[in-house]
Amino acid sequence: MNVAILGVGFCGSFPKSDGLSYRELIRRAATQAYADAGIEAAELEGAVSCEEDFISGYSISDEYVPDQLGVQMKSVYTICGDFLHGLSSATMQLKTGRFKLLAVESYCKASNILNKDEVLNFAYDPVWNRFDVTPNYLAGIEMQQFLERSEYSADDVANVVTDAKAKGLSNSLAPYGSHLPKNEILDGRSVASPVTEAMIAKPADAAVVFVLGTQEANIKKARKPVFISGTGWSSGNSVLERRDHATSTGTVDAAKMAFLEAGVSDPKKDLDAIYVSDLYAHRALIHLEAMGIKGGLNEKINPDGGSISTGDLIEANGGARLYDAVLQLRGEAGSHQLPNVKRAAAQGWRGLPTDSCAVVVIDQERRS
């Protein structure tokens, strides 16, 4: 059974979005996605949202999902995961054969949160790992261990930032694109050594909505459908004391699953565009290594400028990457369009303190 991405919508990224409630932000992305898919909200059978309580500021935040997607009284649930986790879940739901048309949504109103580090700190185990210092401490330990045990240097990590920011200049949805020389990144303010401030993606607001479907009639109706050919997700150890912080086993296993399903044997060769989470610059390199992509960056990796340019959209990060991947497959990525993109993969990471990752492979044409 082929699951198609029938329509996509994205509203953002904005460093702030006062004047738009979270409901209005999501509704804009949903309206865009439904128009792109050639459907009305009423045709949807349900939706999957991807969010966490303390990011939205609600307990049981799934309550507030259906209205702005126009799916009240439909089959709706929430995944506490990256957009790519939610998309993978919706893909399974469709493949049961009991559902035919679903929306997947994630949003981030980071600007509503006045102390984001405090929220992140609250994610650490209170008995073992929750200190009264910045929760970015784990990023510092990760990067230190990664540099000691790999062939990469701090210069390479700084290059990730320089590259991402430069690419962001060609992406109209990326508010943090700029020219930032390597030395300014390395010499910048240290947050958790060796991580400097510029190596951490800045928060932003956005909403992303996809419409997924399986029926031929819907595929014909959609403006430019693309196809999901592989999904994978996995989590490394949540016991930080017994996790290898220099690698991402979550990404290794997620990529293995998605690539096997999609028939990707050599990701560097088989994929025309590759997206990885760069919430911390060193993590981009860790994730690429974990996906079996050696040698660091090139032009087809994060062509949209990644989270470093688009902003940290929390659970919507993977959605932003996959949104760009869809545009690339359609040839609609504008000034950052890569040549001849037929197949792309996006990797998402839930951020600290997790090693929970997902990988999705999409194709211009259906595979079977």
Binding site: F122, N129, S234, S235, S238
Partner: protein, 731 residues
């Protein structure tokens, strides 16, 4: 249902449900998982995917608590996801698991639900304040008790139930729970005893309600091939349904759960059921409050008249030996209510009953089919699962048939967290939620002493709170705003003796909260607010009321600018027509946001392993836990091996390690505190390993030379009598 994607339940495990467990959340989950795997005859290596259902984070007191629970759930290096639909999560969990297997993606899926409500202080009920809309409802300081009481009042009004009749459900559930090994509040009780229990928020009395609980449940799902291979008597998930209604809960009649009826309809269709009352042998409706079981049964029988359910109740059909037994497990009212785990406990009960493993609770007759249902959020979600016995198979004797409370693992009750090492934490999480276009106009109305709505040009509904789009008309943009009359009609109400944090108001004080249908709108379009200037006993459904506004100079553009509603008096104008107005134009001055914070504190037990670690550290010792095969010492000490999902014993298998033999394996110099503010002095955080040991310890490093810290540096763990990571110090 084609057998190609038929999904079986082949094992279940659970902890005891207790008010306050000594175990940490992961330790609770691990006990349930180990037992479920054993019951299924599998190991964690046989499990393809793991899912976790738990909600909300505000109970356990950990942001992203699904991530926190990966190890305890058996999810390490597995495809793992956490899902939730509020209180409906427990029954949604096997539905999500069903998706994993029925899609063909996985052959087996381990489904785990854990809820540890006790860390939230002073009372877990306080967490429910934050389920309400932060801008339009939280300022009223509502809690779940209020919304339940409001719904119960409406239910009684519409279907003509007395409080005594509803109390029968509490009696049935608590009695049935006497046979359940995990039960927290099983007892023989009576309608009189329920009626005599303290009124918390009329019509809700203490014994109408399930308790707050800590607990975990796990089940193993498998495709038909694996099911037949590993289980002699499986039960199959043959019908699933889940529906989520609007978050605007004052925009519907609360008496009938249409969302449950539709979810049930989906499940019936999938299971090929045309006459549920005849084709289903027993029922596990969600029963966090006694009336809820009946409320949900109306939905499951898809009967908005409610007549049949009332007949069945009054005839005794819902009793264990009746024609329509409900909650044979003992339900949330008897077994306890660790929210998500409760729903999965009900699924486990279907499995036990259908496979003849329910022991003292086993229902009579040849059971073919059972149904479980959960509900949650703002009175808006229904989740339904129908399971079938596998006819022709022979029931096997399992650990469940003879299970006793003593033999259940985990859920070790403690009266006070202070009995053991514990960690106090006060999150300082603050928000300022952007109001956006529609709410700005709505709240500016309050400042002007007006209730404002917006009118959908498509369906013609006049909506409050004012909305920028219509949720039922394909997200149609709404641009027409109106000032509405500030009069209305009480649709339902509660007379509350408790505050949002469950503390008693005292001194005979009563808060009256009501859903008020506002004049100038249509049926079922209201808002929730306070009523004053009336004797509580005179408040009635259908009472006409008028807003009392704060003095103009005190209004700030907040829903509390409307001080309260009072009974309509002679002479009050009632013929005011809605007036069309120009909405507020947004600019940097008018685009406001609503401030808020998470008003909760936490007190965590250190857990079985943490207790051992900190008690040792107080004596200057460090111990690890030796694995059963004697080959590996784990640090920190642990009650389970997350790679094998088997129990370990931090006491019996303690292995002493020299605390002075640590070597730095990871380090960082941090310059900010947890709020992101600059520290007065940089702090070194280290990850420290010990030779021949699996694992490390995180702590702070005391050093005069942060720049000299390097990997391999020898450090010594310092003794401390304090508990918590901030006291774990190396030198």
């Amino acid at each position: 249902m084609s057998s190609a994607n038929r999904v079986g339940v082949i094992g279940a495990g659970m902890t005891r449900f207790v008010r306050r467990a000594k175990e940490a959340p992961g330790e609770l989950a691990a006990k349930a998982v180990e037992m479920a795997l054993k019951d299924a005859g599998l190991t964690i290596n046989d499990i393809d995917a793991v899912i976790h259902g738990t909600a909300p984070d505000a109970f356990d007191g950990v942001h992203m608590k699904g991530e926190h629970l990966i190890a305890g759930s058996g999810g390490v290096n597995k495809p793992y996801m956490r899902h939730f639909v509020g209180g409906g999560t427990g029954v949604f969990s096997p539905i999500h698991g069903w998706m994993h297997v029925a899609s063909g993606k996985f052959k087996t899926c381990l489904v785990v639900c854990e809820e540890k409500m006790s860390p939230c202080v002073p009372h877990p009920a306080g967490a429910f304040l934050t389920i309400f809309d932060h801008t339009t409802e939280q300022p009223l300081k509502l809690t779940l008790l209020h919304i339940f009481a409001i719904e119960m009042c409406r239910f009684m009004h519409k279907y003509g139930y007395t409080e005594e009749e509803l109390a029968r459900i509490s009696v049935i559930s608590k009695k049935n729970a006497l046979g359940h090994p995990a039960a927290q509040v099983a007892k023989e009780t009576s309608v009189e005893e329920v009626m005599a229990s303290p009124v918390l928020s009329w019509p809700v009395k203490r014994l109408d309600i399930s308790p707050t609980s800590d607990g975990a449940v796990a089940i193993v799902l498998a495709n038909e091939e694996v099911t037949r291979k590993h289980c002699k008597a499986p039960a199959y998930i043959d019908g699933v349904g889940f529906r989520l209604d609007t978050a605007y809960w004052c925009t519907r009649d609360l008496a009938y759960p249409e969302y449950v009826a539709r979810a049930a309809g989906d499940a019936y269709k999938m299971a090929g059921i045309s006459n549920p009352e005849k084709e289903i042998d027993f029922w596990e409706p969600y029963d966090p409050f006694d009336y809820k079981a009946l409320h949900h049964m109306n939905g499951l029988l898809q009967d908005p008249t409610g007549k049949r359910v009332k007949e069945l109740l009054l005839s005794g059909a819902f009793e264990k030996d009746g024609s329509h037994p409900i909650c044979p497990s003992g339900g949330a009212l008897g077994v306890g209510n660790p929210i998500a785990a409760t729903g999965l406990m009900k699924i486990a009960e279907l499995y036990f009953q259908l496979t003849g493993q329910a022991g003292a609770r086993q229902l009579k007759g040849d059971l073919q089919r059972g149904i479980a249902q959960a509900w949650g959020d703002l009175m808006q979600v229904g989740t339904v699962v129908i399971m079938n016995a596998d006819k022709g198979t022979v029931s096997k004797s399992t650990l469940w048939k003879e299970m006793t409370k003593e033999n259940l693992p985990g859920g070790t009750p403690i009266k006070d967290v202070k009995e053991v090492p514990y960690v106090d934490y006060k999150p300082e999480i603050n928000y300022s939620w952007d109001n956006g276009m529609a709410l700005t106009t709505y709240l500016e109305g309050f400042k002007a002493g007006k209730i404002r709505g917006s009118k959908c040009p498509s369906c013609g509904r006049m909506m409050i709170p004012a909305r920028a789009f219509c949720e039922v008309c394909n997200l149609k943009e709404v641009t027409d705003y109106y000032d509405l009359p500030d009069t209305g009609t009480v649709k339902t109400f509660t007379l509350s003796n408790v505050d949002w944090d469950s503390s008693m108001l005292g001194d005979g004080k009563v808060n009256i909260f009501a859903v008020i249908e506002i004049d100038g709108t249509q049926e079922n379009m209201g808002l929730v607010h306070r009523i004053k200037d009336v004797d509580p006993k005179d408040v009635k459904v259908g009472m006409r009321v008028k807003a009392v506004w704060k003095p103009e100079e005190e209004r700030t553009g907040n829903v509390m600018d409307l001080d309260y509603f009072r009974p309509l008096k002679d002479g009050d104008a009632t013929d005011v027509a809605p007036t069309r107005i120009k909405p507020v134009e947004l600019n940097p001055v008018t685009a406001k946001s609503h401030p808020g914070r998470i008003p909760l504190d936490y007190r965590y037990t250190a857990g079985i392993a943490g207790i051992k670690f900190y008690e040792d550290l107080a004596q200057g010792k460090l111990t690890g836990t030796l694995s059963d095969d004697g080959k590996t010492i784990h640090i920190p000490p642990t009650q389970f091996d997350e790679r094998k999902m088997c129990s370990m014993d931090v006491i019996a298998n303690a292995k002493e390690i020299d605390p002075k033999s640590g070597k730095i394996v990871g380090y960082t110099i941090v310059t900010e505190n947890r709020q992101g503010e600059e520290l007065a002095k940089p702090q070194v955080i280290v990850q420290v390993g010990f030779d021949g040991v699996h694992g490390t310890i995180f702590g702070k490093l005391e050093t005069d030379n942060p720049e000299g810290v390097k990997t391999g540096l020898n450090v010594a763990l310092q003794p401390t009598k304090e508990c918590g990571p901030n006291y774990v110090l190396f030198k």
